[in-house]
């Protein structure tokens, strides 16, 4: 994939572009900061996300549909970066879209610990609860036509188990956690639009509170409680373990604000079920990242080292199974 020039991007959005700078990316996908200027002279900061066609993982959400879901969320008034342009095959930049670049801090360890963000931390639990409540209250037919992956809870659990078994690793802790989940799984049909990666690392935060929810690429149809559980997984607290909601809040406050904002009644056992699930899911993601190195797909000291984070997950899972929570 060639680096897009300012002229390429200008043609896509119909405005002058003064700068295109790659922020991150590898062989198959990349993120660029774009500085554009509107016809009236106002600066127009944008983000271009694109991926080589076909790079969407099997069962994943095509980027064009991710962009459309973001547009739907934006139109519903949720804090989301407005999508400006969805890439088309004729644009020759692969799959992707251009969206507003909003001011804020995306590095969770910074906004979780810096005194400047103390006011944000006092309101974030309520703000996250409101976003999730409103997202989960959206009717499923709002997303009709989008290729959102879907499946019952039991089907998703078996998919996750098959994914674990792909790596040929025997982790008694992971298998005990799977057994624990299987005993408790209630086979609900997919009833909500789920963000799928709603965690502190995907929140853009200003000193006074939430600016935007990022990274909608794992969105799917499922049980809304999944987002509540995932937000509370210990890995996203960045060491602030005594604040179970993302390192900044309390579960009781999250659930109360979610109910008050119209998200429906929160079933605590079900939220805990999803927290165990999410912890295990992150552990399997660590196996996957370690396997990038072991398999030779992406040989890197960083991937190899992430594989050792499996033991953090195993410890959290055992803490939950022994003491009821982490």
């Amino acid at each position: 994939m060639a680096m897009p020039t300012p002229g390429d991007v200008a043609a896509l959005i119909g405005a002058d572009v003064t700068r295109v700078e790659q922020l991150s990316g590898g062989a198959s996908s990349a993120t660029f900061a774009v500085d554009a200027v509107k016809a009236d002279g106002r600066l127009w900061p944008l983000i271009l996300q694109c991926a080589a066609t076909g790079s969407v993982p099997e069962g994943g959400l095509p980027r064009a549909d991710q962009a459309r879901l973001q547009q739907l969320a934006f139109a519903a008034g949720l804090p989301v970066a407005e999508v400006v342009r969805v890439l088309e095959p004729g644009d020759r930049l692969g799959e992707g879209f251009i969206m507003a670049r909003l001011p804020g801090e995306a590095l969770a360890p910074k906004w979780l610990k810096s005194p400047d963000f103390a006011p944000a931390r006092t309101v974030l639990t309520r703000q996250c609860a409101e976003v999730l409540a409103r997202l989960h209250a959206m009717p499923l037919n709002a997303a009709a036509g989008l290729a959102l992956p879907s499946g019952s809870t039991a089907q998703s659990l078996e998919r996750m188990f098959a994914n674990y078994r792909r790596f040929g690793v025997d982790s008694p802790v992971f298998d005990l956690a799977f057994a624990w989940l299987r005993e408790r799984v209630v086979d609900r049909p997919a009833g909500h639009i789920v963000h799928g990666d709603f965690r502190s690392g995907n929140l853009l935060v200003a000193p006074d509170g939430l600016v935007a929810v990022l990274d909608w690429e794992l969105a799917h149809l499922g049980d809304g409680h999944e987002d509540l559980g995932w937000l509370c997984c210990n890995s996203w607290r960045f060491g602030v373990w005594d604040k179970p909601v993302g390192g900044f809040g309390e579960r009781d406050a999250l659930y109360a604000a979610y109910e008050a904002a119209g998200g429906g009644a929160v079933d605590r056992d079900r939220a805990h079920f999803w927290e165990v699930w999410g912890t295990l899911k992150w552990g399997i993601a660590c196996l996957q990242l370690g396997d990038d190195h072991v398999s030779g797909r992406l040989r890197s000291v960083e991937r190899a080292a992430i594989g050792r984070r499996v033991s953090e997950v195993e410890l959290d899972l055992m803490h939950m199974l022994k003491f009821g929570s982490v």
């Binding site: 025997d170 008694p172 005990l176 080292a305 033991s311 953090e312 803490h319 982490v326």
Partner: protein, 123 residues
């Protein structure tokens, strides 16, 4: 001293070398140099603490035999998948908690859950 240059000495020497390189590195390579130093620290702790021996002994307490670690793990996983073992299996949860503590103390001794259990390196 068994050897003049023991494995731990080599690890320290390579860590020193990586630290020397650091000022010349930028971006991804600087980050990877830090990750590499951390990876060597894991190796040093693993050599010192031998968590596999501890895991093998703890799992043997559940299976009731002293097979090598890989076979112990495979047997426990097979039983858990088959449902012939579970949370109620005597000693299983406590043994796996201790195994997890021993592994995490090697891989990330500063991890919050270790501190919480009073089992971090500094606790």
């Amino acid at each position: 001293m068994a050897e003049q240059i023991e494995a731990t000495t080599l690890i320290e020497a390579v860590q020193l070398f990586l630290a020397e390189l650091e000022p010349d590195l930028k971006g991804r390579r600087a980050f990877h140099a830090k990750v590499a130093q951390n990876a060597l620290a894991i190796v040093a702790r693993e050599l010192a603490q031998d968590p596999q021996a501890r895991e093998q002994a703890l799992l043997a307490g559940v299976t009731g035999h002293g097979a090598p670690l890989d076979r112990q793990r495979a047997e426990l996983c097979a039983q858990l998948r088959a449902g012939t073992m579970g949370q109620g299996t005597p000693g299983l949860v406590d043994a796996l908690l201790e195994v997890a503590i021993a592994k995490c103390a090697v891989d990330n001794p500063r991890y919050a859950t270790l501190k919480r259990l009073g089992r971090s390196a500094t606790a």
